[in-house]
């Protein structure tokens, strides 16, 4: 196999992965939203649906929803513009899956004389690509709003497109701050640059060289703008149940609605990936650069196994507590299920610890170093992304919705000047450091 074929296969595989990852995050996200909102509002959340009594803590509800949405009648109202009405949900879904193509999932790995890349396309215009694709996402909503031939839809579409255009500016300017600091728009270089420690005026600080420390204001602006771009509460005026029924997707049902629903969540997943990549070091493990990890397999193995053990142990404890609390409510599988999962989690945690002990005492084969690093980095990125997913849920269920004039005022009169000021300050600091 010559190197060109190898690169082609690598790119193909990573493209498929970059499409599958958001699709896999979506059901988890929906579950997180339901359970998270339940926790915040002191409810129980979905816990009725189950397969053979196994409810997977409400996760099975997603299957029920999918079946429901697929089985429902595919209604196309009489006076809609049929072609554009059908096009809109597909447009929304497709565009929402594209930006992840330029996000690196782990550092490139040299393996048997070849370089395996964990990024579908290392474009020279990476950041701009993300911006341009997200700007195309507005069309899905505009089209849906307009082609439905419904006043509520049209108002929802108009609101949302105005909002997205307004906040795209602040988003772009926040990205410019990152571009100035890292002096590149290529995603892989931006992430690589975040692996060092922070230096300011010749002093090395005990902080990673992450965007959030270099550009805190930029991070805040980007975060707010990405809430607005994904039409998420407190910026979900496009839907605004109390005034617009459901906004741009009033007329949509069954599969077409589910495409919009999935596009909304996969947009958020992509936003979480982009924020994590630009501001939280992407796949970089804090304080441990890729070289350090590669050269110290023991360190990598310990970090990986301890992290897995910690996560699984916490999950096991939580499941155990849930089981204990519910034990007098249910019988049979329903009672046993949390304990079963708790046991599984503890078993995985123990297995991770055992693996760690084995690895430390018996030594590791040389080819394991790179593979372990990749696992650790992917895990690290996933944790960051999951945190931002949770942040989206958290904000939605704690903050009330803005009024439309407040939204516009904030976008144009607060965020845009702040972003410009941020650029000015950044420029001055970069000049003084030279």
């Amino acid at each position: 196999m010559d190197s060109q074929t190898f690169t082609l296969i690598n790119i193909t595989v990573m493209t498929v992965v970059a499409w599958i990852v958001p699709l896999q995050f979506v059901p988890v996200f929906i579950w997180l939203e339901r359970k998270g909102s339940a926790i915040i509002q002191d409810r129980i959340g979905p816990d009725r649906t189950g397969i053979l009594g196994f409810r997977l803590f409400g996760m099975v509800q997603n299957f029920a929803d999918v079946v429901k949405l697929l089985m429902k009648e595919n209604i196309v109202p009489a006076n809609v513009n049929r072609f554009y009405f059908m096009l809109a949900p597909f447009w929304a879904m497709t565009v929402s899956l594209l930006p992840l193509l330029v996000v690196p999932f782990a550092a490139p790995l040299d393996f048997a004389g070849r370089t395996v890349r964990f990024q579908a396309a290392d474009l020279g215009v990476g950041l701009l690509y993300i911006l341009s694709i997200t700007s195309m996402g507005v069309f899905g909503i505009i089209l849906a709003g307009w082609s439905s031939n419904n006043k509520f839809s049209l108002l929802g579409g108009l609101r949302s497109s105005a909002q997205m255009i307004s906040y795209e500016l602040s988003m772009g300017l926040a990205m410019v701050g990152i571009l100035m600091v890292y002096q590149d728009v290529r995603m892989s270089s931006i992430v690589e640059a975040q692996g060092r420690l922070l230096t300011a005026w010749g002093h090395t600080l005990p902080l990673p060289h992450w965007g959030i420390f270099l550009q805190p204001l930029s991070f805040l602006l980007f975060l707010v703008a990405s809430f607005a771009e994904t039409n998420r509460n407190p910026f979900d005026l496009a839907e605004g149940e109390s005034e617009l029924v459901a906004g741009f997707h009033v007329e949509y049902s069954s599969v077409k609605f589910s495409l919009f629903f999935m596009a909304e969540y996969s947009n958020m997943v992509v936003a979480a990936f982009v924020i994590a990549t630009l501001f939280l070091g992407g796949y970089q493990v804090p304080f441990a650069s890729t070289e350090t990890l590669r050269q110290n397999p023991q360190l990598t193995l310990s970090l990986l196994c301890l992290l897995v053990a910690l996560l699984k142990g916490t999950a096991g404890l939580i499941f155990y507590k849930i089981g204990n609390r519910q034990r007098h409510l249910y019988a049979g599988v329903k009672r046993a299920e949390p304990f079963l999962f708790s046991g599984l989690c503890f078993a995985v945690a123990l297995a991770a610890l055992a693996l760690l002990a084995m690895g430390l005492t018996m030594g590791l084969p040389a080819w394991m170093n790179g593979v372990l690093t990749v696992f650790l980095q992917v895990l690290c990125l996933s944790l960051k992304v999951l945190f931002f997913c949770w942040l989206f849920v958290w904000v939605r269920w704690t903050l009330p919705r803005f009024r439309y004039d407040q939204l516009m005022k904030m976008g144009w009169k607060l965020m845009l000047p702040l972003a410009l000021l941020n650029l000015l300050v950044t420029g001055v600091i970069i000049l003084t450091q030279k």
Partner: protein
Amino acid sequence: MLEAILFYILAAVLLGMGLLVITRTNPIASALAMVAAFAALAALYALLSASLVAIIQILVYAGGIMVLMIFVIMLLNLHPDDLKPMRAKGWVVVLALTGVWGVVLAPVALIFFPAGSQPPAPLAEGFGGIFSVGEKMFSDYLFPFEMLSLVLLTAIVGALVLSKRKL
């Protein structure tokens, strides 16, 4: 070979979408065809190794300007009676077709009678990328660049003056 195939596909899409822009009676359909045409044009730029121009084409034209256009079209609240198909006069069609064919045939003639057949020089490293374009823009073409930003400023001030009479 692959590049040639891609070029012809993209050119066909571009021309087809361009025709749709001027033949549809529904302005939204025209605008969307224009978006597709811009996307095809961006892909053509990318084929020419001008990656920055390609992405700016999508970002500014397809994503920015077309969104505003569609926005305006939706706000105009056009009545179906306003959207009757227009009939062009015969001599206008003849003139237009002749002009278009003239433009199309000129490159074809150049293919058959090439001006000079030197092999193309290999592109410099990073050609068409953000660094090379930026360097050119802020050194050799700084003055036109600043002039362009002044033109845009004029447009903004003009819009403000027109819309806010009582400022």
